[in-house]
Amino acid sequence: LNEENEMSFSGETVLQDALALWVTPATPPALDARVLASYRRLMAAREFLAESPRTQATLDQTMEGTMKQCPNCGEDFAPAFSFCPVDGAALAATGLLYTRPEYHLTVLEETGLTRRLGREIGLLKAQLKQAWPGFKRDPLGFTKGALAAASAWFVQLFRVPHVATATVFAVLLVMSLSLAVILADGYRRRAAQQDGLVITELINLNDIPKPEEPEKEGPAGNNKGDGGGSKPKYEKPQGGGGGGDVNETRETSQGETPPMSRDPQVVVPKVEPPLDRPVLLPVTPTLKGDEALSKMPRDLQFGDPDSQSTDPSRGKGEGEGFGGGKGTGAGDGAGAGQGPGRGENIGGGDPNYGGGGPGKGGGKPSKPAVDYNREFSVKEVDRKAVIISKPEPPYTEEARKAAASGTVTLRVLLGANGAVLQITPLTRLPYGLTEQAVAAARKLRFTPAQKDGRNVAQWVQLQYDFNLY
């Protein structure tokens, strides 16, 4: 006691005065209400448990005693534990009450799903580890015990107030909802059948494909060799043919080109008008080539579509066809096709049956879907963007003082509308030079890149050199 007095009055009144300044707030009234509510809940639960002696006995058995603590890890355990599951040390009593965890109606937690899953898996692993020796010793007895424990847990769960009611309510709710859906569906089917219609399939409106834009009529094959063909992908048609009369001095007369056929040429087209006499086995005169490149056969006079001459002439070529070439075709080439090439089909060069692209090939092949709103690289566009003016960025004062020099490389997106859309520096320079380069790049003037005749956005890489001379 003397020691205490010494401590209290050993000239430390100043400290005590100072300590007295720290005043705690009054106990909040809300706390009183909370404690009282908990008290009432606890008493109600006790009353309920008192009515089921078995549960009470089980609870008393497991909750008996005070809290225990592991001397090694310092973790607290319920009285039912004897050894620490982590390090196996015997638990020591702390002399403190065991507080039963509060009962929560909801299972909502603040921790994330993955973390909770990890925790649960960890717990399961630990439990399995603990259970394994017992199971190994007596598998049958262990299983029986586990089943008994599970059923006891189940029974206990449903003895908790409102759990049974809540479960029955939830099951009934889900069942009635399902029933309502089934009934509504049946009613709708009956209604539809009464109208004489049977619903075979519900179609999601989003699944209905939009009507395809009508294929633009592109130029069919022509003498320049840039037409299309019947192959699905664009491929330049090649080949050609021609013919004419070696003794002819006049140019080939004007007329339609005959239809194409891959079949061998049976009748060579003539520029003379069709004879007005009965034919026993009528055969349409054809050129050998891709059918996709020619128009529907018409009973017209054949000849060179570009010619101005109306005087029937097969042209100055050689062979049975017409035009300036050789062979049974049309045009200046050699062979059974049309155009300046060789062999068959349309165009120039050696024969090749082409394929269609957008707007080419007479529209028969399907058009590949190209999103013209996306950003294109230099390689993807048909015509690159052309920079008309590239203002030079000025030096900054700091850079001049520091005698900084070097190159700023920018990646610039030149928009389809002629505006600079995006600038990304790839290499930088200090003293605000990168910013100067970016500012200069904003002032670029250019004509947009084109793909398939449309303006598109294209990325370019620009370099701005900063040098002090």
Binding site: A18, W22, P25, P28, D32, L36, L96
Partner: protein, 191 residues
Amino acid sequence: LADHEITTDKGLLERAAQGDEAAFRQLYERHRDAVFRFAYRLLGGVEAAEDVTHDCFISLLERSHAFDPTRATLRTYLLAAARHLTYKRFRREGREDLFDEPADAVLLTEFANPLSRLLAAETAEAVQRAVLELPPLQREALILFEYEELSLAEIAAVTGVDANAVKARLHRARQGLKRALAPFWQGAALV
């Protein structure tokens, strides 16, 4: 229960455990403030102190027969429980500092002079900070001794160590406080 037993802590606790709400109220109101103050000074926050006080009384009821009046007073018992709950909270949260806004010092009204009031407010805040910055074991010893006015033996019972250890902790706590409050020493002496 005999009449004199009805108003003792033990008697009230027994009746409260049997469902006598009035007895529980009496018991709660008797010890509520001490537990709340202790928890508040240990934790430094109103909400945390409320939780600890609540849990403390509920745990007392749940295991009412574990309280033995021959070993300690109910107040000591409750403070020990509050201490245990507080440390559990520290461990769970992995930190020891739970600062709320500094409490409004009621004593400040005593200082009519605005300058004194300002100085006192500043000192009060510094005291709170200094106490909360003490190591937990020194802090609890100081709080129990200075604020709850427990004897060394009682503090030893609450904290589960012998009285000499409590004395040593108290001494170190005072030294620490003096160091921390040195800049205010003159000011505190003035007011």
